[in-house]
Symmetry: C4
Subunit: 263 residues, 4 copies
C-alpha cells in the first residue's frame, strides 16, 4: 500500500523499463507567468512524451482535481520521457499542478526529485524553466535570462541568446532549489527565465524560451498555438484573466484530462 | 493512555462489535454550504444511527466545545452505523466538527479514515457529500454534480439525476482526498456536490442531495426541517448569518450535546 | 544537556522534593482579558508560591524577554506550589508568557502539562481560568461561567455563583484542551470564565473570578491592586491600551523580573 | 551525500583545521535595521575573515539567490574566522541571508549553531548584534542597549557606553534565542542592540555598535563606507528604500558574489 504521508514517486510500469543514456531533465513547474508549465506542455505534446513516473506529496495543497471525463485525481508532479527528442539526447520532462507550500516541504520534494533523477535515471544535467520580471512596462522583445550551477558552463550556453549575469534577487521553489541541490551533488544545470510581463500567463516569455531551446537542442518546437494566444491577448481590451479562461487547444490534454492551469 | 499527539480512532466498545457486510461509507464533513454535515445529520437522526468510533487529531484546530449540558468536548470526527438503512446495505456515516488545516494534517487524517474503513470495517465504496458553486445568481433548481474514482461507474449512477463531467476545478479536503486515496487502494467512490448559493448554510443544496440519495438507496429521507429552514431563509430580509444562529430542531442533537455548526 | 527541540519540563531541584497530597492544579495562561494570568499572579504573590518547575517548548514563539535587571529569558510556562493555601489543599499554579501557536504544538504542550500533573505530582483535579465574552456593551456585574469535565460535578460547584450550561461555542488553547485531555484520563476539572468586556486586560472579570475562588476554597484573596486598576480604567478617557502600559504594583514581580503581560 | 532535509553545518576543509583558543562568537543575522549583518560585513572585510563553515536548513525560506557571476546559491548562514582580530582573541563571525521562519525551525537552527560553537569550536562567549527601536522621531545619537545571559557580567561591560536595564519587551530570533540557549549550557553572552530609526537599513545604529565594539576589543573598525551611506540617506528626499537599492562598495562582496540584503 502506498504511504502518502510523505513524498513518493510512483513509476509507470512499462515506460520506466526503457534504457536511458545520461538523460537530461527539463523542469517546467507552476510559477511566474506559467512559463515553465507551458513550455513543458508544448514539448510533451509535440514529441509525444511517454509518462514515466508520478510524484505525490503530503506537502502539496490538499486538493483534488475534477476531470473532464468525470474522474478525480490528486495534485501531482509528473515525469515524462522523450526518447526521440533529437539525435543525441534522452529528455525527461518534469511538470505538474503545484509546488510544495512550506520550506520543509520544498526541501523534501526537490530532494526526492533530484534523488530520482540522479540515482534511478542516472541523469547529469538539469534545465529549469521559469519567468523573471524586470518590471518593464513596454516589453516587446522579452529576453531569456540564465543562471548556472557552475560558472564554467556559461561560455557553452552564451551563444544561444541567453543573458547571463544580469538577473538579480531570489528565485522561489524548484526553479532554483533543484539546481543548488544538483550542484551540491556534482550535477550541473541551467536555469532559463523568460522575461515576464503577465504574472498569470505569459506566452511571449514562452516564445522567447522556445527560441533558445530550439538553438540549444537544434530542434523546431511548433508555436502556432502560442502565437494564437499572443494575438488573443493583443486584441483583448480586457485583462489577461479573461484569456486564461479559454486555454488554447494544445493545452487541452485530452489523454490525461488534466487542467493545465492550477493556481 | 491515549496518545493524542497524532491522529487516533477510538472505537465504541459495544457497537464496534456488530458484524458488517461490505459497508458503504457516506462522508459529510464541514465545507461549502455545510451541505455534507446537514445531510449526515439528517441520516443519523432519521435512521437512529449508532455511534461506532471517534477520530481525534492533533491536526484539528486546538479548540474545545462548550456543551449545553455544561460539559466540554474535543473537536472530533465521528463514525456512525446505520445497520437498518435499506434492505441491502450497512451504511457508515462519517461526520464531524472540523477538518485538518494543513496539507500534512489532511493527508494524515484522511489516510487514517481510509485505513479504518478499508481494513477494519472491510468497506468497498465511499460517497462523499459536499457543495459546489457555479456562481449563478438566480439559482432555483440546484443540480447535483458528480465525480467518480473510476469513470466506468458513471453509467451506473447517471440515472439518478447526477450531472457528470461538468464540474471543474479543485475540491478541498476530505470531499476529494478520501476518494483519490480510495482509488489508489482499489476502492471505488462517488463525490456528490449540491449546487450551492450560500457558502455558510445551504438547505436547497441539501434537498437536491437528499433527492439523489433517495433514488440511489430507494429510501425516503424526511426533509420537513430542511423545508422550514428554506422558508425562513426566503422570508428573511437579513443575511443568511442570522438564520444560522437559529439551527432547526433536527440539528439540535440532544443526545450528544454537540453543536452542529462550527466555523 | 537540555534538548529544547521539543517540549520539556525542568524541575526546581529543591521545591520539587516537597511531598504533595493529591494537589489541585489552577491554570492561568494568556488569553481573553488576561483573566487567567492576573488571577494566577494574585495567588502567587499573596500566598508566596514556591517555584516548582518550568516548561519550555519549541512550539512557543521564538522570542526572548528583556528583563529589568538587564538579563534575558526564554518564553516559558511556570508551575508554582502553594503548600499553605488553605487548611485542606496543596495548590499548584500554572501560569506563563505564552501558549503554543499551532494545533500540533498545543496538543504536545498540554499533553506534557497533564502528564506532569497526573503522573509526577499525582494530581486529580484541574481548574482552568479564562475569559468569556457575551458581547454585552454595558457590563456592570460580570458573571462567571463554568464548564466541567463531568456533568456530575456541576451540583458540587453550583452554590459558588458559577453559571453553568449557558456558555456556548469554542474555547481556544489550554483553557479547554487541558480539561478534555484530563477527562480522557479519568481526571476531573472545572473551567471558570469571567465575563469579559476588554479583550486586552479585564480586571472586572478578574474580581468576579476571585469572588468565586474565595467561596470555593474558603479563602480571601486580596484585590486592592485590582480595584486600583478598575478605577484607573474607569477614569480613563483613553482606551484600555494606555492602562496596560502601567501595570499595577503587584504585577511587578521583582523576584523573577518577568513582565506580566506578553501578547 | 548531504541530507538537506534538516539543519546541517558544512565545514570548510582547510580553515576548519585551524586551532582555536576559546573563540568568541559574534552574531550578525538579518533583523531590525539590518544592524547585525552590516556590522558582521564590516568585520569580515576589514579583518579579511576566513570562511569556516556554512549552515543550511530546510527551515530557511525555499529561495535561491542569483549571483553577479551568473551562478546560484542556497540561502544560508555563514561562519567566518578572524584569527588576527586583536592581540587576545580568536573571533568567529556568524552572518547570513535569512533566519528560520517558524518557532520549531528557530529552535532547531539556533541549537545547531550553539552546539557547533560550544562542542566543536570550544567557545565560551557570544555577542549577538541587532537593532532596537525606541520609537523616537528625532534620533540623533543612537544608544546601544545591552542585555546579558548573567547579570554578574554587566559591570564588566558598563564602561563601554552600553545602556543596561532600560530595554524592554521581546527579542525575536537568534539575537535572543542563542543567548538563552547559551545560558542554559553555562556559556555567557551579551546582546548589543543599536537604537534604530529605519527598520530596513540603519547605518547610524551600525556606527553606534561599531563604537562600542572598538572599545570592548580595543580595535578600530573603519566606517568610511558607513559614513557615506549615512550622508546619502541625509541627502535623500526619497525614502530609505531607494538607498538600499544602491549598496555601498564595501557591501559588495565580490569574492562570494553574495548580495548583502535579503529581505
Amino acid at each position: 500500500m502506498l504511504n502518502l504521508n510523505k513524498t513518493i514517486i510512483v513509476k509507470n510500469k512499462k515506460n520506466s523499463k526503457i534504457k536511458l543514456k545520461e538523460p537530461i531533465l527539463l523542469v517546467g513547474l507552476p510559477g511566474l507567468g506559467n512559463v515553465g508549465t507551458i513550455v513543458a506542455d508544448l514539448l510533451i505534446h509535440q514529441f509525444k512524451a511517454k509518462p514515466l513516473a508520478k510524484l505525490y506529496s503530503n506537502h502539496f495543497p490538499h486538493q483534488v482535481l475534477m476531470l473532464k471525463n468525470g474522474g478525480l485525481r490528486l495534485l501531482n508532479n509528473r515525469f515524462y520521457l522523450i526518447d526521440n527528442f533529437n539525435k543525441k539526447d534522452n529528455l525527461i520532462i518534469l511538470t505538474g499542478d503545484t509546488q510544495a507550500i512550506t520550506p520543509e516541504g520544498q526541501f523534501d520534494v526537490n530532494l526526492e526529485i533530484l534523488n530520482y533523477f540522479k540515482n534511478k535515471l542516472k541523469g547529469k544535467f538539469i534545465f529549469t524553466i521559469g519567468g523573471y520580471t524586470t518590471m518593464q512596462e513596454d516589453l516587446k522583445n522579452p529576453k531569456v535570462f540564465g543562471n548556472v550551477t557552475n560558472t564554467k558552463i556559461i561560455d557553452k550556453f552564451k551563444k544561444y541568446d541567453i543573458v547571463f549575469k544580469e538577473s538579480r534577487g531570489a528565485i522561489l521553489g524548484s526553479l532554483g532549489l533543484l539546481l543548488v541541490f544538483a550542484k551540491m551533488q556534482k550535477l550541473e544545470g541551467l536555469c532559463l527565465m523568460g522575461e515576464t510581463k503577465y504574472p498569470e500567463l505569459d506566452p511571449m516569455a514562452v516564445k522567447a524560451i522556445v527560441s533558445v531551446l530550439n538553438k540549444i537542442f537544434n530542434i523546431t518546437i511548433d508555436t502556432k498555438d502560442v502565437d494564437k494566444l499572443i494575438k488573443s491577448i493583443d486584441n483583448s481590451n480586457n485583462n489577461i484573466a479573461n484569456n486564461i479562461s479559454i486555454p488554447p487547444p494544445f493545452l487541452d490534454n485530452k489523454e490525461n484530462s488534466q487542467p493545465s492551469y492550477i493556481r
